[in-house]
Amino acid sequence: MIPSDYLSVALLIAGAIFFLAGTLGLLRFPDVYTRLHALTKADNVGLGLIVMGLVVQAESWAAVGKLLLIWVLVLLAGASVAHLVARGALQRGIRLWKR
Amino acid sequence: MNWNAWIPLLVVASSLLPGLVIFSLAEERVRLRSTLNLAGALVKLALVGWMLWGVYHGRHYETRLALLPDLELVLRAGPLSLLFVTLSSVLWLVTTVYAIGYLEGSPHRSRFFGFFSLCVSATVGVALSGNLISFLLFYELLTLSTYPLIVHRGTEVARRAGHSYLVYTIFGGALLLLGTVWLYTLTGTLEFTPQGFLNSLGEEHHPALIVIFALMIAGLGVKAALVPLHGWLPQAMVAPAPVSALLHAVAVVKAGVFGIVRVVYEVFGVSFAAELGVTGPLAWLAATTIIYGSLRALFQDDLKRRLAFCTVSQLSYIVLGVAIAGPIATIGGVVHLVHQGLMKIALFFCAGNLAETLGIHKVSEMNGVGRRMPWTMAAFTIGAFGMMGAPPIAGFISKWYLGLGALEAGQEWVILVLAGSSLLNAAYFLPILHRAWFQEPPETWPEERKFGRKETAWALLLPPVITALMALGAGMLASAPFSPLGWAQLIAQREFYQP
């Protein structure tokens, strides 16, 4: 293993942990809005970290570009969908969770 | 180009093509339709005459068209076919004239005459068929073209009659088909041959052949109205009189009987059939039908129904003649094919005239009708006496040969049947004649139509008179060269005496 591999491993594992957290959040949080929050963490940060981990390994700039594009797209989709779902939920009168 | 090869086909086409044209004619084109009909009938008659002359002088007329790779549609003019062809083409002409008069002004005439022509084409085809598959083809075509004629009136009764006709004949057709195919798988040929083509088959096939014979007789027996397959015939009396005449004298029943003649003589061969032991039961069946039909006729008040049961009975004379399996009985049976046709058609024309002119449908209404319609009843009387077997009318000749044949074959019991049936014939015809000639006429007839000074329309009057005269002539001139009897003798000769 060369040094860049260590970085990559760390990033990848961190990403996986964010995914785990996202899943846990999805399972454990009490209502749609809070679950949305958890989900976007997995989307944005989890995938972001994994992409970074792979960028370190990437062999060509094209691959790097693709990886980043993928991340950006997922970010965009995630954000928009989260927005749409939240807005839809509010419009449809789904109540916020109160302790 | 050998024209002789096309004449049998032309005979069939001479009624088929006018028929197809007639279908497309408008209802009101009476003259064109009648012209077509009569022209067709005359052309046919001329062609048949040509063939008669030719065959008599040893010419050969045969049409062959491929139907299946190793089976052909064969139309051939032999003595037996010509006998039947002549009968049907002569009677078609007469019946056409009669029908034109009878149906004047009634609806759906184009349809009627179209199917009428088809029906005759099919009959001629049946007569000329040179092998079993061609026979089957025209036999089924006959079924299909008669059905519309039976239901022509369109009433509920007519529909039921048509239904019953179909049930019987389609079923019969299926049995015949089965027998035919089976035979074909055994022999690989279906060509009608004098003295049959089955002799060469080994013993092991005999049980199968007996079953095939039974299948074919059952299939043909439906149209030949053998008891117990006769149920449709009296019902079919609802059809217009020309149709009844055609059904009874020319086309349908005759096709059935003719088929039996063909099967016994030219498929199995008389001697082979006797060897198989199938002619005995057939004779008994015929005898039963003769007696049963006569007995039933005795108790019918409806004139046409009485005549219908008479037909059932008379047809079986032919079957009987065939089944006795001797040369002289054969002559009697075959000649009766013609004689019964002439007499019965006269009788039906008369019945039609009575119904059409005076509205008489029942025997009990016939008091004194002889004075109102002397010509018609004279024809009727000739027909009736002929049926009874009185000399010198045609029926006598048939019965004479049948009786002689039975004696020759050592089957004396047949004489008893013939005598009994003649007595019964007398028992149901003589009261009619007595009523017609010797009872006082009623004040008014049920439904009278006036035809000026004539007793009825020419077109209605001539056919019965002509056919009755023909019946008389066939009896009196029986020994003339072209008489039915002469042909019947020719046929019997071929069957029994030629190598």
Partner: protein
């Protein structure tokens, strides 16, 4: 070992998802599970070294079919007089006509029989791969799947484009459908679609181009294009009426049409249907793929839209 575990997990996941999707009493849940099933299928294709299919599955199987099903569900609810009847468990149980285990018994036998048959196949078989490799040189492309699709078995592909067209004709001949309720798009969706559409088009072009030598090709590109259309439709975009007439139809038949014309021309020049001369093969294939991409994209979007465009206009 890890490989094995991954495959086993994928396989089991596929079965489990399929079972749940098919047996879920709630229709929406069933569809969502089915979409998830499609995603896993794409992973399975990757594991089976079939990236071309994975691409197609990702675009069509998981993406478009999901959108189609969801839109249909929405319209279904709209069509129902009584919304409560949609997929409520009580209803579902009442509708079972015979004991549910009854068909299961013969089907278990089918599974056992087919399973045995599959296992009885020899572990090594080259199929036609040697022939494909041998002729790849003269096929005009270096991606073997594209070579098979557009050259060796191009005739199948021609007919397959016709299948798409037929489906669209069928959908259009059934008249437009009520759209169901639709909320206003909102600025976010609007922006999203504006931003994503060029990306979609770029990706489609890229896939089309790359298909000659790497996974990708007309179907994948076409589906991506179709997905772009779907997104635009969802965002409330509509074409001008004039464009939905002949121009739209021209685009729809461009793929199969070009294919037929090429088939005819090649037959006249080379003697056999779709026989390309090796020099022209690659350019012909690129031409066919380009037209096919447009057609596939337009057809998929039109299928999602439902009725014939002008019909729909009359309804709203």
């Amino acid at each position: 070992m890890l490989q094995w575990a991954l495959d086993a997990l994928l396989g089991l996941g596929l079965l489990w998802l399929a079972w749940c999707a098919l047996m879920s009493p709630n229709l929406l849940k069933a569809i969502v599970l089915f979409v998830a099933f499609g995603l896993l299928m794409a992973l399975a294709w990757v594991r089976l070294d079939a990236p071309d299919i994975a691409l197609a599955e990702a675009a069509i199987g998981a993406g478009l079919t999901g959108a189609l099903l969801l839109a249909a569900l929405a319209r279904l609810r709209f069509a129902y007089a009584d919304e409560e009847t949609v997929g409520s468990p009580a209803q579902e149980e009442a509708k079972v006509r015979f004991p549910q285990w009854l068909p299961a018994v013969p089907l278990l036998l089918v599974v056992a029989g087919l399973g045995y048959v599959v296992l009885s196949l020899p572990p090594y078989a080259t199929g036609l791969s040697t022939e494909v490799t041998a002729n790849l040189e003269s096929s005009g492309v270096s991606n073997p799947v594209t070579a098979v699709l557009l050259n060796f078995r191009g005739y199948d592909t021609l007919l397959e484009l016709v299948v798409l067209l037929v489906a669209l004709l069928g959908v259009w001949s059934l008249d437009g459908l009520a759209l169901g309720r639709e909320t206003a798009p909102g600025p976010v969706l609007d922006t999203l679609s504006r931003f994503l559409t060029p990306v979609f088009i770029l990706v489609a072009a890229y896939l089309l181009w790359v298909g000659a030598h790497a996974p990708g090709g007309a179907f994948q590109a076409g589906s991506v294009l179709g997905a772009a259309g779907v997104l635009l439709l969802l965002a409330g975009w509509r074409f001008r009426a004039g464009l939905t007439e002949l121009p739209l139809r021209l685009v729809l038949v461009a793929g199969p049409g070009a294919f037929v014309i090429v088939a005819l021309v090649t037959m006249l020049m080379e003697g056999q249907l779709l026989e390309y001369s090796p020099e022209q093969a690659s350019i012909l294939i690129l031409f066919l793929e380009t037209t096919a991409t447009f057609s596939i994209g337009a057809t998929l979007a039109a299928l999602f839209f439902g009725g014939r465009p002008q019909d729909d206009k009359e309804h709203t």
